[in-house]
Symmetry: C2
Subunit: 330 residues, 2 copies
């Protein structure tokens, strides 16, 4: 592979001049430009990005850490991130942590090793201390999931309010025995969504019943399992709010197996509005997060932080939307 030196010799100029032509940031005479460009074409020269990044201490690359690329929710966010990154001359590196702390740490190590100029973290498993320390070294943004009270910018939605609205919708349909399928993990969204659930009940004068609360891991299977348990209660709930669409679909299948009809016997509401929410029969009522926009905003903010160092930490809350479909209303 040709180097800048080869090009310089071929064109009969110095490497400095070649570099100037490539970067277009200094005056070079028209004839020289032609000569150099021709040499570049003839040798099929392409700058070595490693050399460039090393010299500039800027790689123009962004790390995106996410637990699972197979999750359609993240996929949509990534699209937003990519679009903004590409528009600004940055490329992104997708890193699948599989919710494995060791794996995440490996990628963080790469990040610290100057392989990227910054990172967007989704559902990081790092502790608050580790995150804070990392943020002092390199610009990072938390997207969707975030630890509260840290000096780190995040982009998210109002999870408490979203859950509140969803449960309120169920209450408005006349339901009194409303179950909840959440998750027992360290993520703030889990807590907030449960809080929204409880507040909606309280404001409607319905007693909060812990027995109506089950916990899964966002997966189809766990939704199926937890719903099975909830349906065994007497009296059984007539509605359920799930904090993920996958669990909601699991819940629906569970009800079907008990020969219950959705929504007549059991109203089901999900969360996320992933692409298959409308593929199922019945189609799924759910809370839509502006996934693409979440990605865009996260990337825009990160780029700003990279350019201007030392940004103040900000918290961006984007709009969500309750989408009513067949699983709650006939």
């Amino acid at each position: 592979m040709a180097t800048i030196n080869d090009v310089a010799k071929h064109a009969g100029v110095s490497v400095a001049t070649v570099s100037r032509v490539i970067n277009g940031n200094a005056k070079v005479s028209p004839e020289t430009i032609t000569k150099v460009k021709q040499a570049i074409a003839e040798l099929d020269y392409r700058p070595n990005l490693l050399g460039r990044a090393l010299r500039k201490t800027r790689s123009e690359r962004i790390l995106v850490l996410l637990p699972n690329i197979a999750n359609p929710f993240y996929a949509e966010i990534v699209k937003g991130i990519e679009d903004v990154a590409n528009k600004n001359g940055y490329s992104i590196m997708l890193c699948n942590t599989d919710s494995d702390l060791d794996r995440e740490k490996k990628y963080i190590k790469m990040l610290k090793s100057h392989l990227a100029d910054g990172a967007i973290l989704m559902a990081s498993e790092l502790t608050s201390e580790e995150l804070t320390e990392l943020s002092q070294e390199i610009p990072i943004i938390q997207c969707c999931e975030y630890k509260v009270g840290l000096p780190i910018t995040h982009v998210s939605i109002d999870n408490e309010m979203a859950a509140f609205k969803a449960v309120n919708h169920l209450i408005g349909l006349g339901h009194k025995r409303i179950a909840f399928i959440g998750a027992n993990n360290q993520f703030l969204s889990s807590t907030l969504r449960k809080e929204g659930y409880i507040r909606a009940l309280e404001e409607a004068g319905i007693d909060y019943n812990p027995a109506y609360c089950g916990y899964g891991d966002y997966s189809y299977k766990s939704g199926f399992r937890v719903m099975k348990y909830l349906l065994s209660l007497d009296p059984r709930p007539t509605a359920v709010f799930c904090i993920s669409d996958l669990m909601a679909v699991g819940a629906i299948r569970s009800a079907m197996e008990e020969n219950l009809h959705v929504p007549e016997d059991l109203a089901v509401c999900g969360f996320d509005n992933v692409y298959f929410a409308r593929m199922f029969k019945p189609t799924l009522t759910t809370v839509s997060q502006p996934m693409y926009d979440l990605g865009c905003v996260a990337m825009e903010v990160l780029l700003k932080a990279i350019e201007s160092k030392d940004m103040e930490t900000m918290h961006y809350i984007l709009e969500h939307e309750l989408i009513v479909r067949e699983s709650t209303v006939k």
Copy 2:
């Protein structure tokens, strides 16, 4: 951030020695090792990967190009790739081309600019010439989709045989009017699956009827649309073989809207066995590709090619499996 120079000074040795300690490939006295390690720890030193890669002309990174990370089919393959890569000290960069040729070319440019040591391409949109040229410069592997007759190793399944078996299964159930939902694109798998479909019909003495063949783009929507058309035919087909699970699900929904029952009125068979194939009601009969293994093999072969330059091109065909579920058999 501390550099190797800082460490050397701190430990009172030369940079060469520090490097030797880090890489552990040359003799260093035990006391020196201790000194250096301590200095590294005290300064929280981490080698700059750019400097290292530049010097070694090896980045120990692999590019993985895929059309769409949101497609669960690819997600599973990526897991296999990642596992093997990590095990061998390589990290991978996931690049989403969105089936956009410009985008793909941008990533290929990065690849050629020494940002990675090799690449795995899935469903590349490049021409045979471009692929061949690229392969002469940098080790690449084609995974799943591939152009035939190129001097480039690929890892895939026997698509013709898989389709043959699937259609044969439908024939075995007594169906005579079997439709086909494929894709009109440049990918070999589309052609091969159609060939398998036709061969199964022929061997069973059933006339191939082009009117029973529709074409989509692998998506739920297109499956829905094409099935709608196929069901409008008279006589309408009693079974359909779809070359993607998403289209199969679309087909099922289409049948439901016409008040047809699956599988009684219409048997449906998909392809890929993505994770939600068993979430649907009825659960989906489909062809399972060994996605994880495809990823593993692709990565293993690529690593071998990187290590030993100039490998002969090989074609790896992995086993597939027909998974019979409710959408074809009550």
